[in-house]
Amino acid sequence: MKAWEELVSTALLGTQRRTTDPAALPPAVGAKVETREDPAEALLATAALLTNYRRAGQVPLSGTLPMPVAAPDGRPLIRPAARERLARLLSANRPELLDEWLGAVAAAGLRVPPERLPALADAARARISLRAPLVAVAGSAGGWLGEHNPEWTFLASPIPDGDADVWRYGNLVQRREWLRKALAEDPDAARVALTGAWRGEPAEVRAGFLGLLGEHLRTTDEPFLEAALDDRAVSVRQQAIGLLGTLPGAALGHRMAERLRPLVRVRKRALRPDVLQITLPDAVDTARDGVRVPAGPEQGTGWLRQIVAATPLAFWAEFGLPPGVLRMPVEGCAAGVLRESWAAAAVRQRDEPWARALLAADPGGRGAAALVGALEPRARAAAVLDLATHVNAETMAKLILELPAPWPRELGSALLGWVAAQGDQRVVAHAAVVIARSVPPSCLRAVDPLPEDAAPWRRALTETLTFRREMHEELV
C-alpha cells in the first residue's frame, strides 16, 4: 500500500525533514487526522489508523495451490493406551523397542495417529532400521509426507499394485519392494524380470537383488548363480558363492570337494584311532570360485580353511559319523583350523548332525552361538540348555549375546528360566539386557513382583519384559 510506505519513510527520516501528503491517504483515514496540527502527532495518529485500516481490511489469499490429497486409510487407529505407549517410546530413547512396536502395529493392521508421524519420521531419519516398519505403519499419509518434506523422502515409496512399470521405472526402494513381493507371490515372473534387467544394473544394486533372491532360493537358481561367479564386482561374486554353498548338490560344492580330495588322507593305526593327515595346498586354481588368500606364510592354511568351509560336509562321511571324525587326531595342520572350518560349513549348509557334534565337542567354543543358529528352531532351546550344563555362567552369557535373532519361543522360555536362576554377576546382567529384548512376544507373560531388595538388573529385566508384554497386549 503506497500511503503506508510513504508514512514509514517519513517516520524513518522524521517529520522535521519529510512530510507526507494527506491527500494520498484513504479518505476515511484522512478525515480523522486533518484536525491534527503538529505533524509528528499527525504522523503517529495516521500510522495507528492505517495500521488497523490494513489489518481490518486484510483480504484472504486467493489462488493458493492446494496440495494433493492422500488416499484414504481405512485401517483403525491404535487404542488410547497404545497412543500413550508411543509417546513413551518416542521420549524414552529405546529405538529397539520402537522397532518392535512399529512392526507389531503394522502386523496388526493398525495405524498411528497422524500427528505422531513427523516425530516418527525424524526418529527414522537417524535410525534406518525404523524406516521399513514405519513405511508400513504410516501408509498413505506417510507417502504424502515423504512427497512434501524433502527430509522424509524415504517415506515416499508407494507401491502401485502389481504394476510392472515400477520394476522398470521406479526408484530403488520401490523396485526392491516390487522384487521382494514378486519373489514370494510370482517367483517365475520375478526371475524373468531379474535376469532381464541384470546386466544393466550397477554392482551394488546387483548385490542387493541377489540378497533378496537368496531369501527365496530354489535349486533351479544354480545356473544363474554360477553365471554370477563371473561377475565384474567382488561383492556380487562373494554373494553368489555364499548362496551356492547353501544349495545342496551344487557344482561349486563338487569342485571344492575335488580340490579337497588330494589334501586329505587317513593313516590307519592299530588299536588306536585313525589319524586325519592333511596336506596344505601350495597352489590353487580357485580365483573363479572365490578362494582368495593373500600370499604369505599362512597362505596354505587360509586356502585350506576356505576350501573346507565351502565343501559339502557329506565329503567327510567316508571317514565316519561327525562325532567320530571330530575325535580323530589331526596331522598337517592345527586341529582348531579344521574344526573352525567345519563349523563355518555347518552354519552355511545348516547341517544339524555336524552342528550338534561340533557343539558337543567344544561347548564353550567361539562359534557356538552360530552353531545353535544352524539347528532347527525348535531344537535350539534343548541345545542351549544342554550347553548350560557344560559351561560356566560367563561363557553362557557371552553365547547369549551372539545368538542369532529371531529367537524361537522355546529358546526364549529356556533363557528366561536360565537367567532367573542366575546370581548377581555383571556378565549375567549384560545377557539379561539381551534376553529382555530378544525373547519373542509369545514368551511374555505376567511376572510375579520382585522382592524389594532385588538387584537393579533384575528390576530392569522385569520392567522391560512387562513393558513389552503390555505394548503387545494393547495392539490386539
Binding site: E41, L44, N52, A56, P60, L61, P66, P80, W144
Partner: protein, 437 residues
C-alpha cells in the same frame, strides 16, 4: 466439589505437566510395577511409588481442581510421581477403594482451608474501601503521568525520525519501558518491550515498529482523556494500560453468558518465568468466543480445568470492554470430549476480526474456528484454504507438520489464533478426535 465420573485421557494428564521434561519423567513412573497401595475415589487418586530413597513416596491427587501432594523433594508441581499416578489412573490401572488415613487427612485439610478462604472473602469494611479508593486514585495519577511522558517521547522521536533507533534503539525503548513500569502502566511497558524486540528484525522492521509505536501513542493519548470516552471503550483502554479488574467485580457485574463452551484451543507462553495460558472458548449456542487467562510461575501447575477439545457446560462472566473477549469461569460442569464442531469460513472469520478490531484497536490476536480447510503451499510456507478458495497464511517459523500429517491434503477443522504474522493453529479435529497442536 464435583465428582469426576468421566475418566480422563492421557493427553489431559500430560497437559498438566509443567514442562516437557516433567512429562517424560512422569511417563517413566507410569508403570504399575513401581507402585503399591494404589487406589482411587471419585474425588482423588493415591498411591506409593518406589523411588531411589528408602521410603516410597506417597503421592495423592485431588481431581476437581486438580491439586497435588507428594512426599518427594521435587520442586516441580505436579511432580513426576503425581503425573505417573494420574497416567496409571487414566489407563484404568487404579481401582476404587477407601482412602487411607493420610489421604483423608489431606483432603479434609484442603476442604477446611477452602472454607476459611471463603470467609475471608466476605464483604470488606467501609474503611478499607476508602483506603483502596485513595490507592486507586494515586495509581491513576501515576499512570496518566507516565502516559503523558510516553506521548512526549514518541512525538519527539517522530520529529527526529525512527531511523535513529536502528542503533541502540532497542536499549532506549527498554529504558522507556522501565519508566512505564515505575509509572505502574505495565500495558505501556509491555508494548515498548515488544517494540524493542522488533528493531532491526527482518526486512520490514521500520513498518512493524511504526505500527506498534503508533498504537501505543494512541493508547497513551486515550489515557489522558479517559473521562471523555464511552464507558466500554474506557474499560478497554484501562485494561490495555494494565489496570487489573478485580475478579470479584467481574463475577458480580460482568456480562454473564451460559452455554456449552467448546475449549477450542490452549496456548502457553512464557515471559519472565511466568507462564500465561490462553484458553479459547466458543459457545455452542451463542457462537461467542471467550478468552480465559491463567497464570503460573515456572514449574507450577497451569489451570487444567478447561482441557483442549472438550466441551464444558457452564457460565462465563465477561470482563468489561468495548469488544468483550476475556472472561472468567463463574460456574462449570464436568468437561466431556467434544466431537468435531461446526466452524466458520475464512471470510466470516476475517469479518469478525475486523469488527472486533474496530471496537478494540489494540487487539493483537483473534480466535478462529475454521471449518473444512485444506493445506496449500504459500511462498516458502503453508496456508489453509477453505471450500471457497479463500486462504490465510500460517505463521512462518513454526512446525506445522503434525497438522499437515493429520490433513494429508484432505479438509480438516482447525482452531487457531489469527495474529499479525499469520494463523497459528492450536487444535484440530481428525475423524472426530480433537488433537492439540
Amino acid at each position: 466439589m464435583t465428582a469426576s465420573v468421566v475418566p480422563w485421557g492421557a493427553e489431559r494428564v500430560i497437559e498438566l505437566a509443567p514442562d516437557a521434561a516433567s512429562a517424560k519423567a512422569g511417563r517413566a513412573q507410569a508403570s504399575a510395577s513401581k507402585w503399591s497401595g494404589l487406589g482411587a475415589s471419585p474425588d482423588a487418586v493415591w498411591g506409593a511409588c518406589k523411588g531411589s530413597g528408602q521410603k516410597p513416596y506417597q503421592a495423592c491427587v485431588e481431581l476437581d481442581e486438580p491439586a497435588f501432594r507428594c512426599s518427594c523433594p521435587s520442586r516441580k508441581f505436579p511432580c513426576k510421581h503425581a503425573l505417573g499416578l494420574l497416567l496409571l489412573w487414566a489407563a484404568g490401572e487404579v481401582h476404587e477403594g477407601p482412602p487411607p488415613e493420610w489421604v483423608g487427612g489431606w483432603l479434609d485439610g484442603r476442604a477446611a482451608k477452602a472454607q476459611r478462604a471463603e470467609k475471608r472473602a466476605a464483604p470488606s469494611t467501609p474503611r478499607s474501601t476508602e483506603a483502596s479508593a485513595k490507592r486507586a486514585g494515586d495509581r491513576a495519577e501515576r499512570v496518566a503521568g507516565g502516559a503523558a511522558e510516553l506521548r512526549e517521547w514518541l512525538t519527539d522521536r517522530a520529529r527526529s525520525g525512527f531511523g535513529g533507533l536502528s542503533v541502540g534503539g532497542a536499549d532506549e525503548l527498554r529504558t522507556v519501558a522501565a519508566r512505564m513500569v515505575d509509572a505502574q502502566a505495565p500495558g505501556l511497558a509491555g508494548g515498548l518491550r515488544r517494540a524493542a524486540g522488533l528493531v532491526g528484525r527482518g526486512r520490514d522492521w521500520p513498518g512493524a515498529l511504526l505500527s506498534e509505536l503508533s498504537l501505543l501513542y494512541v493508547l497513551a493519548e486515550a489515557c489522558t482523556r479517559l473521562g471523555e470516552l464511552p464507558t466500554e471503550l474506557a474499560e478497554t483502554v484501562r485494561t490495555r494500560l494494565g489496570f487489573t479488574v478485580d475478579s470479584a467485580k467481574v463475577l458480580e457485574h460482568g456480562d454473564r453468558v451460559a452455554d456449552l463452551w467448546l475449549v477450542c484451543g490452549v496456548a502457553d507462553e512464557e515471559h519472565d518465568r511466568l507462564i500465561t495460558r490462553r484458553t479459547w472458548l466458543r459457545g455452542k449456542h451463542t457462537g461467542r468466543f471467550a478468552l480465559v487467562l491463567s497464570f503460573a510461575p515456572q514449574g507450577r501447575p497451569l489451570d487444567g480445568s478447561l482441557p483442549s477439545g472438550h466441551v464444558v457446560p457452564g457460565e462465563l462472566a465477561y470482563y468489561p470492554g468495548s469488544s468483550p473477549l476475556r472472561a472468567m469461569v463463574a460456574e462449570r460442569g464436568e468437561p466431556v470430549p467434544a466431537p468435531c464442531p461446526d466452524g466458520d469460513s475464512v471470510a466470516a472469520s476475517l469479518g469478525a476480526h475486523a469488527r472486533a478490531l474496530a471496537a478494540d484497536p489494540w487487539l493483537d490476536r483473534w480466535p478462529m474456528l475454521l471449518s473444512r480447510v485444506i493445506p496449500a503451499r504459500y511462498e516458502n510456507g503453508f496456508a489453509l484454504s477453505d471450500v471457497e478458495g479463500s486462504a490465510l497464511p500460517l505463521v512462518p517459523a513454526a512446525d506445522h507438520w503434525p497438522l499437515l500429517a493429520l490433513s494429508a491434503g484432505a479438509p480438516i477443522t482447525v482452531a487457531a489464533e489469527w495474529t499479525t504474522s499469520g494463523l497459528r493453529p492450536l487444535a484440530c479435529w481428525h475423524e472426530d478426535r480433537a488433537v492439540r497442536l
